[in-house]
Symmetry: D2
Subunit: 415 residues, 4 copies
Amino acid sequence: MAVTAQVPDARTAFPPPSVEARPVDRGAWIAAFRHVRDETERRAAPLSPEDQQVQSMPDASPTKWHRAHTTWFFEQFLLKQHVPGYRVFDERFFYLFNSYYVQAGPRAPRISRGLVTRPTCDEVAAYRTHVDAAVADLIAGASEARIAEIVAIVEIGLHHEQQHQELMLTDILHAFAQNPLLPAYDAGWRWPALSQRSGRVTLEGGVAQMGHAGSGFRFDNEEPRHDVLLRPVDLDRALVTNGEWLEFMQDGGYAKPELWLSDGFVAAQTEGWEAPGYWRQRDGVWSSMTLAGVKPVDPALPVTHVSYYEADAFARWAGRDLPTEAEWETASDALDAAFGHVWQWTRSAYSAYPGYRPLPGALGEYNGKFMVSQFVLRGASVATPQGHSRPTYRNFFYPHQRWQFTGLRLSDYGV
Amino acid sequence: MAVTAQVPDARTAFPPPSVEARPVDRGAWIAAFRHVRDETERRAAPLSPEDQQVQSMPDASPTKWHRAHTTWFFEQFLLKQHVPGYRVFDERFFYLFNSYYVQAGPRAPRISRGLVTRPTCDEVAAYRTHVDAAVADLIAGASEARIAEIVAIVEIGLHHEQQHQELMLTDILHAFAQNPLLPAYDAGWRWPALSQRSGRVTLEGGVAQMGHAGSGFRFDNEEPRHDVLLRPVDLDRALVTNGEWLEFMQDGGYAKPELWLSDGFVAAQTEGWEAPGYWRQRDGVWSSMTLAGVKPVDPALPVTHVSYYEADAFARWAGRDLPTEAEWETASDALDAAFGHVWQWTRSAYSAYPGYRPLPGALGEYNGKFMVSQFVLRGASVATPQGHSRPTYRNFFYPHQRWQFTGLRLSDYGV
Amino acid sequence: MAVTAQVPDARTAFPPPSVEARPVDRGAWIAAFRHVRDETERRAAPLSPEDQQVQSMPDASPTKWHRAHTTWFFEQFLLKQHVPGYRVFDERFFYLFNSYYVQAGPRAPRISRGLVTRPTCDEVAAYRTHVDAAVADLIAGASEARIAEIVAIVEIGLHHEQQHQELMLTDILHAFAQNPLLPAYDAGWRWPALSQRSGRVTLEGGVAQMGHAGSGFRFDNEEPRHDVLLRPVDLDRALVTNGEWLEFMQDGGYAKPELWLSDGFVAAQTEGWEAPGYWRQRDGVWSSMTLAGVKPVDPALPVTHVSYYEADAFARWAGRDLPTEAEWETASDALDAAFGHVWQWTRSAYSAYPGYRPLPGALGEYNGKFMVSQFVLRGASVATPQGHSRPTYRNFFYPHQRWQFTGLRLSDYGV
Amino acid sequence: MAVTAQVPDARTAFPPPSVEARPVDRGAWIAAFRHVRDETERRAAPLSPEDQQVQSMPDASPTKWHRAHTTWFFEQFLLKQHVPGYRVFDERFFYLFNSYYVQAGPRAPRISRGLVTRPTCDEVAAYRTHVDAAVADLIAGASEARIAEIVAIVEIGLHHEQQHQELMLTDILHAFAQNPLLPAYDAGWRWPALSQRSGRVTLEGGVAQMGHAGSGFRFDNEEPRHDVLLRPVDLDRALVTNGEWLEFMQDGGYAKPELWLSDGFVAAQTEGWEAPGYWRQRDGVWSSMTLAGVKPVDPALPVTHVSYYEADAFARWAGRDLPTEAEWETASDALDAAFGHVWQWTRSAYSAYPGYRPLPGALGEYNGKFMVSQFVLRGASVATPQGHSRPTYRNFFYPHQRWQFTGLRLSDYGV
């Protein structure tokens, strides 16, 4: 089979070709598949079997589980449907590594993921190898009649896996932060270079359009593209920095209830928040747990690991606002550091766009059923894999969560 | 003092005159004040001291506490500021009966309201009498220079008290539902007559305006009036009924995860929801705990005591939508049973209108700090006091709560 | 009926005659019954209906519940069995006011006792009157063949009621201590005069006997009388005082883990114990919430509201021991303040005496089923009603509990 | 150094010589040390790094932690004190692997042991090697003046490690039972052959002696030997079997509150107990999770994984008793299967023997501080290592715990 000869440069392998391009470029699809699958393994590589086992809180999952679950996705939604006589690697994995797809069958309780010591990491690696080969064979060998449907499923599987790649980093960072030894995931890890201008981007008011249009992958929650009514607004070009956050702290921001949403102040008090997540103070100096271990807080870097509650309080303290997701999306071309540093909280509750319809079947559980009590974040973070960012992308978390790389950008409705 | 001679007919006493009317009609304001204060006592009258003591869950408060807290409001925000030499009834009540006004000073923990057996109901009655007299004297005797400011505070205090009047009924219903004897608050209580048409109200799409304008009382969260962009939509004239809800139940609605938001299904499973709140089944027949005690479920009445999660699942089951609050407000003139039966869940997360600014000082804690994780309800319920309803009114509760008189009305974006 | 003419002097009415005395002195039994029943009402008298409603923690019960439950006991175990055609006051009370007698039928959850606002205090008073009359009639009119069996049940019902009389005081003290107003149960309440000698009582080692023997009422857990082997031991004549406890506190006793049982230190840390229950410090001076309201801590009085964990830590700090219950009982004649001040923790885990057999039927649930994880206390407290104390009496609580009037007396095994 | 030449046959290496034997047989002590240390590694050998990481409940600990903590014990109590210039393996381990020795310094919270993924298993192995060499060197090279003190510490460290060897098996069994795959620790693992006679051992009443005396290792809680007064009692020669337990279950034993201690019935209801721990029923047939995976329940084997609450209820159902620890110890010579199958619950609450004094310093925290709310078990289980059993040994657990190999033997006080 000529497939292996077609492996392209990994730097250009993702995103894959449009699922609508004809004829389907099977080699490019196999390359994209390998590229993403390899990236998962690359992110797991610095971690020992013990590291990959741990689930440090209910919101997080073990590295090993991420590796297995993303593999299950291809078995469940692709191979079982499209490979006649497909030999399942292990029937029991359908129960162990299903996550929240209720319609895809029963699943192990989320909270006990850290208890599943078997299969081991080595067995999960074998599971990945088994599925990888089957997927590559399927892409290479599928009939012309079915290849289009197949690459559409491959595509969503790859974007799904990229989401878990981000979680692999945030989850292991949380786990390592619980370890008194505060180990580094990668001692050489660094924040990317940051170039931010001061000043603001001004949006005229009026009817604009938001949501995904045209070609290219998008999740169902980015559609349909629709009209929105904008107020005139200014958005900061720059992200809020650690230095600015320290001013908020020094002004007693965490202790002033008038700055906070009521639920937010309760959370801050209950959890003992006095600084962003992972910050610690010794001898009056603030440092922070990072993927490179504990490092001094750099005032010039964007603040991260702040919850929506904190972002909202900061904005109120500053006499500013958080932008809506429509404002962010409309202005995105003109923002600095929109992608690749920190996700940016918006003031928009996560909800369906008008006319939204989820995908049919179990894949329809992907986005829509989470549309309550969460807030939209826009942009992308340092942990977001290559090719997984776009202006219409909608990330979402609960307002108390802060183990993701979450920061903020301010806005202003002017006079 | 001629004040007592001016008492108007209670049926017309509320709402009071506009706070902007000049000269200030002091007699009408005193009448309005008495009208609302009397209504509180009228609602408490069927309840024994024991009944008035109980706090049956953290979300609810004792009747006695409602009576005292609404009185504290006038002492804290009106009498202390505007009556020179005002003799406070009991200094300790400032701590006991403050609720969430952080800026108004320390306050007793919400959860322990049911433990405060002293002051007794009789002492709270004396407290009310003391404050009532002082407020009436103040309105009657204030200088012309200050009377406008004074009636503005009286007005917000009365609307605040009316909100607690509604809670008095919902809270005691919850308490009585915990008692194995299932006592009736008022054996003669009845749902108001209901007249509902089938059919739908059609809204054209385009830019509309929502929010309060003109004269008359409004809470800060109803402002500013602003443009919104509407999609074409149909709203049902009628509320969803118990009979329709029984169809949902018979179709297994409570057990089908694909109909539910993820958090909602967890709540339904955890709480064991199989029917609306207070429903119970015996020998295959459904009845419901009401203010009149346990009564058979009437299929023709609007369903109530359903959470947002349930309303959302019902809408999905029906292949319909919940309206947004903008849609509800725009269509409100044409809806049947919009007010006086059940609050109607909208699909709108509770948030600030563009340009919203809370009131200054402690009164600014009234609305804005709750703008997270809650959903807007529109209309008014059977428990809402007279004069407290308007098309721009925004009620809000968490999506899991169902001890209020909460129901729903469906909508449709059409083809 | 001549019964009312026979009411004896209340001061001598309790304990009643031996149940074995023949002929049965019906008048004396009626007097004893009235004496105890009246004492319950006397203890409730200072309390408003609101006070009587509150359950301030799961371990405590409302005053109203105590009044009703002790009445239920006579209905359940006496009147239903022995009065032909007895008219039950309210069938529903059998469910509401059963406590832990599993075999006596279903019962309301303990935790929700504070939610039962109906029946009201007045209705409970009527319930008591109804049952009181029926019991008095039964005693007066029962056949000679059955009167012996009847007074035996009356006797256990009265001792049961006396136990609840003690709880009425400790439970309302706990409730009032939660109220920021710190109300007094009885402003004139005082600790009884205390006369304590220094020095010790010495017990020779060897075989002794413990447990109840002879006539007079005893609970089943006081039997059978049996041999025990004693080590030579000295017991302090005096109870540990507040002054001695302050020394322990000043020496950092609450913060030294080496003085504590492991579970005890966890409890102290978790609960934030730094002093006995109800103590509070202001401007360096310790006071304590008492039945008379907040009073200065008197160094000469016995310390009370200390848990077993604290008593054990104090003994270790003092280089002393807590006595066993066998030691306490053997030495009881020679101890000062053995009864009427505070219950005294022993080092004996609560367990069955060899050969113990519980009473048959539901009354057998009285004592035996609690014989795990609790410790025996000996003596009696200021809250114990007259006639309810004896050297063989075994009280028992969990080692973390401290809302009872619990103190300690030290002992020493000598060289 | 000749030490390595002296390694004796591992089968005879434990227990080591008496610490009082002179001259100290250094070779035998080194052999004993190696024997016990090797046994730990032998028990860990079937487990992957992932398996060794998991902490499946707060009561359990990861295998890796057991391996490290037992090593820490020698560093903390032996090497730091007795090896001049001892090079600590890693200072941070003193925090990570201290357990409950409060006086030995701060320690990581028990609940987070499963989060400590670093050090890895390999690093723990290196830690063990480092300490093993240092201990062997110390024993071989210590001065004659100090060797006696040193071997006394070695001895307690070895017995301490043996206790953890038992926990390694019970903890991993619990972890594997949480895994839906139900993996086997060792597919070849079997219960030891059991030979039990029917009939009873009769003890005469009177004064007997219990507690450790003479030479040989004992924990402080086994002393002092002292007089106890025995009642005449019969003890069954045999342990209660699975077959007998099935009769209890078939008779509805788990659902009859009159058989249970009150706390026990609450635990049974709350936890959903309907059979011993790890039992599961499919198609009417009971099987049980064991170290060899899921196996059918063998009616002839001793029942295990039952709590004290269950043992107590079973005894009451059978009309029998559980023996006291004094009775068990006195009769131990005549009991079948006293050691090596299951620990046997006694009815004795765990408490200090009269005259008990804990060891000085941090080692004094070993036993005494747990003397509350637990019950004594006697004998030894299939998981107890060789040389760790004796008639005076006192094991203890809370009455609700059942993840140990805990069973029971009945007794009777006769007529």
